[in-house]
Symmetry: C3
Subunit: 309 residues, 3 copies
């Protein structure tokens, strides 16, 4: 595995292998000195053309715990000319000395292009509406460890709720969850459901209340507020009434259902109640597992198989 | 000691203990390799919702010299929703893995709230008009070491000059200096003097010239220019005439009086002369001691008592 | 050598010594763990009052590979008052603990002023139209290693093309290349040629096509677009027609001529063709050599002669 660009790059045995390494990383993260020399001398550059402090910090923490050096390059899309100049940036950083690029960009496909401009490994940290494969991996990992299903999601009932159409998280998770055997229900009105998502194990509805009593995993998507302003989504109040998680809906969940969200939450929009009042919330477990899973991915891309401790 | 939120958390023996450790840290800082493994594997996150490169760099240098990892998160208050979203940020960083948060915010009380959202230690690096306890510690430390008074300020004559009312530095220093035994004179007009500052050893005046000949320490406060524009302070020229340090006033100081300022200085407002011409200036000693004192605080919060070298 | 402020500080034997150390650094950079403990415990601060992510990352990578700590301080010129406040910034960072400042500023002479405010070493990373000495060193190093001329440019035919007048890169390179023995042709119209550049080995023309067949090194300068808008340069199309490198001109170069550019390129202005189609391009070699040369410079300023590995 040279790059991680899409969940489509990940077959089921590879996912299982990454999950097993992530378990090892979680054990390292619980140590009093949570650091191993596995990637000593390697440099991981986060190149974010779209801001996301959380994802960047998660990847950089993962890299540092493997003893890699980190380098951070942020640029608004506006200040860098499209296409050619991104290439110059990547080629320059590559010549300075980068072993893996972690790339986020508002346009789909940029991480794939980056692989043509460097010999380094490339990890897609989110490209447009397209893909966010480490999010799917950490979400699948979180479900398996919380539900105790080993490395599979066979038969697990998951509902993914909200603006499916514009969400790279939804697109990545639907693909990976379904291939790991989950029974996925997409909850959104037709206008927020892209074509081409149908497949084995995937059903669609716009009635959230009907779905709640039966799910084992309720996955709430983040709403991009600017899409509401642009008229692409129902305005806040209507969205919340139809797809928001409030206390009434939380009571409809079964006692051992878990609730997930990729963060950062929009309180009052998709998250209408205080998540601290949700016993089933695994939102912070997702964050914690994100570091372990990204360590496992970087180790797979850059390591020599020896953790060193 | 789990947190450092306010000078009120610090009793006199604790201050003395921190000062003794700071002496040790100053000795480390003078080495050719100024680094000890005391906090290896710990992560210190600076979370600044109000910009201050100097304070952030001072804390990060302190953390690195103790071999901690550092993480930096900046956000303007405008881009983060108040209250709940700060909570999400803290909970997320905490789940990624943070052992101490160094927090600055324009609103009083935010660092106290942060302690409810994380198991990590919290250091208040300045909250609104309220408190800035490491500034008070480094100022008290600087006075004791410059005047050779051991770990006490007993009987030391200190004047604090300027916009007392809006200054967290003033509020912190008045409290700590007075409890360490100093005789503190506050120099400001009534409109810039908040109620409730009276206490043993504290006197008030608006006549700077009367105070100068007798003080051992002249502490000039920084003026926030935006408060002048808002009419909360006399405009520049009048402020300088009444409370600024110029060459005439510098000549009124006794020969061994020292002059301090928390930085950054407003030249031409509270600092009307070139501080390089002030033999009594200890402004750079404050900066230098700031690193030692913050090392001592972080070591007390996160260390196990062993410096490791 | 305490500072590196200008190519004028560098005599020919010093340049040769730096080039020899840079060879050693290149060898280190090719290792699987490209790091030596040479500057362990030293702190290198990059203080950039004008943005340049590439130069900053190059210096910081160089510092880290020598095991120095790095500190980064960025400020737009507008937010810092000129003169005095830059002094306060430098004095403060110096008191926190900095061993070398890497300084970039839009005004000529700022790095020289910085040397008066600190005991630390100072490296000029570009000041106004004045100097950028590490760029000249890395360019000279690149030419010698690509052409195999040892540590000299004796007799090497170099053309420097474009906006000579406003370019610190041109000013630095002309000085250093000429003293190393190169025969330098400046290609620009009279309005873009400052007075006082004449000297042994330096000729001037405005006819790029006449020069191309004979040069061994074609050095394309970066155009600052804002100077076109301000009427200081011919607008884009005219500039490109006269001084841009397009495919027709590339074919006029001799087969073993090399093409250089300090980056970042303006595609469509001075670089009208895709540089990936230029077999003679050494633009990425310049970037790569930049890290080695900056390691050599920092080691010379801060090291004790022992690389440590």
């Amino acid at each position: 595995m040279k790059h991680l660009l899409s969940t489509h790059d990940l077959d089921v045995p590879t996912v299982a292998a990454i999950m097993n390494v992530a378990d090892h990383m979680s054990e390292i993260n619980a140590r009093s000195v949570p650091k191993v020399p596995a990637l000593l001398g390697r440099t991981v550059a986060s190149v974010f053309f779209e801001d996301s402090t959380r994802t960047r910090v998660s990847f950089e923490t993962a890299a540092k715990r493997l003893s890699a050096d980190t380098m951070s390059f942020s640029a608004s899309t506006s200040s860098v000319n499209k296409g050619e100049s991104i290439r110059d940036t990547i080629e320059t950083l590559s010549a300075i000395g980068v072993d893996a690029f972690v790339v986020r960009h508002a346009s789909s496909g940029v991480p794939v292009s980056v692989t043509e401009w460097t010999d380094a490994s490339v990890v897609n940290a989110g490209d447009g509406w397209h893909q966010h494969p480490t999010q799917a991996l950490l979400d699948a990992y979180t479900i398996t460890r919380e539900l105790g299903t080993g490395n599979t999601l066979a038969g697990v009932r998951v509902a993914i709720v909200g603006d499916i159409k514009h969400s790279r998280v939804a697109r990545s998770n639907i693909d990976l969850f379904a291939r790991l055997g989950a029974r996925v229900t997409l909850v959104a009105p037709g206008m927020l459901l892209p074509a081409g998502l149908a497949g084995p194990g995937i059903t669609v509805t716009d009635a959230l209340d009907d779905v709640l009593p039966d799910v084992e995993v309720l996955y709430m998507l983040r709403v991009q507020r600017e899409r509401m302003d642009a008229g692409l989504l129902p305005v806040g109040g209507e969205y919340s009434a139809r797809f928001g998680l409030d206390e009434r809906r939380a009571r409809m969940l079964s006692g051992d259902a878990i609730v997930m969200h990729p963060g950062p939450m929009n309180r009052g929009i998709e998250m209408v109640m205080d998540p601290a009042e949700l016993p089933g919330s695994r939102i912070l477990a997702q964050v914690r597992n994100g570091v372990s899973v990204r360590m496992a991915v970087l180790f797979r891309l850059l390591g020599d198989g020896q953790l060193g401790a």
